[in-house]
């Protein structure tokens, strides 16, 4: 027997290793796959991703404000109008106003109007404070009906009053009545 072991020990070791490999496959590898099957639930992340996705769905596409701009009748006059206020007011208070570059006012300066509402208004062709300041009751109703879940904001936040002060460049009057410009 001992001579046999001495002669064929590599075969014996190979058989032992084969047994180990098969045992590992049976007891460890297969169990690993089972464990990977019980991954966490989506809701383990909490409600934050859902809110983020909802916000992404609600936000207007980045390209929409550009399309109705072509339909504005006062389009040719826009560049001239753009240079005048820009020269008159260097607007140091404005942080970063991308819409202002194309002759449109930064509607987010109106308190109660955020980026989402601003882009919605741009999509309707409303790009300047003067336009909002000129709204009458019927126009407010017409625009309000298109604001979806923001309905009622126009009157609640007095956009017309805010816009008329902003259009006039009356920053101090605005600050006095509605608080500091953001």
């Amino acid at each position: 027997m001992s001579e046999l072991l001495q002669t064929y020990w590599p075969l014996i070791v190979a058989a032992l290793l084969l047994g180990l490999v098969i045992a590992w496959y049976l007891f460890s590898a297969s169990r690993k796959t089972r464990v990977s099957g019980t991954s966490g639930d989506v809701l383990d992340e909490g409600a934050a991703p859902a809110q983020r996705n909802k916000a992404l769905i609600d936000s207007a596409p980045a390209a929409t404000p550009m399309q109705p701009a072509a339909g504005i009748p006062a389009e040719p006059a826009a560049p001239a109008a753009a240079t005048a206020p820009a020269a008159a007011t260097p607007a140091p208070e404005k942080p970063a106003a991308p819409p202002a570059a194309s002759g449109a006012d930064d509607l987010t300066r109106i308190k109660g109007v955020g980026p989402k509402l601003s882009s919605t208004l741009n999509a309707m062709g409303v790009t300047s404070f003067a336009q909002i300041a000129a709204w009458d009751e019927a126009e407010i109703d017409r625009i309000d009906a298109q604001l979806g879940r923001f309905q009622g904001r126009i009157r609640r936040d007095d956009w017309v009053g805010q816009a008329s002060l902003l259009a006039a460049g009356d920053d101090s009057g605005f600050a006095q009545r509605y608080g500091k410009l953001s």
Binding site: A15, L16, G19, I22, A23, F27
Partner: protein
């Protein structure tokens, strides 16, 4: 006892020992975990 039979028995025993060691290492652990 023929040589091949002895050799086969030894290899089978070694194989069984390997399975046993493997179970002791990995199989028994997992049973405790569950």
């Amino acid at each position: 006892m023929p040589l091949w039979f002895e050799l086969a028995s030894l290899m089978l025993a070694a194989y069984g020992a390997g399975i046993g060691i493997g179970w002791a290492l990995w199989g028994r652990q997992d049973q405790h975990e569950e």
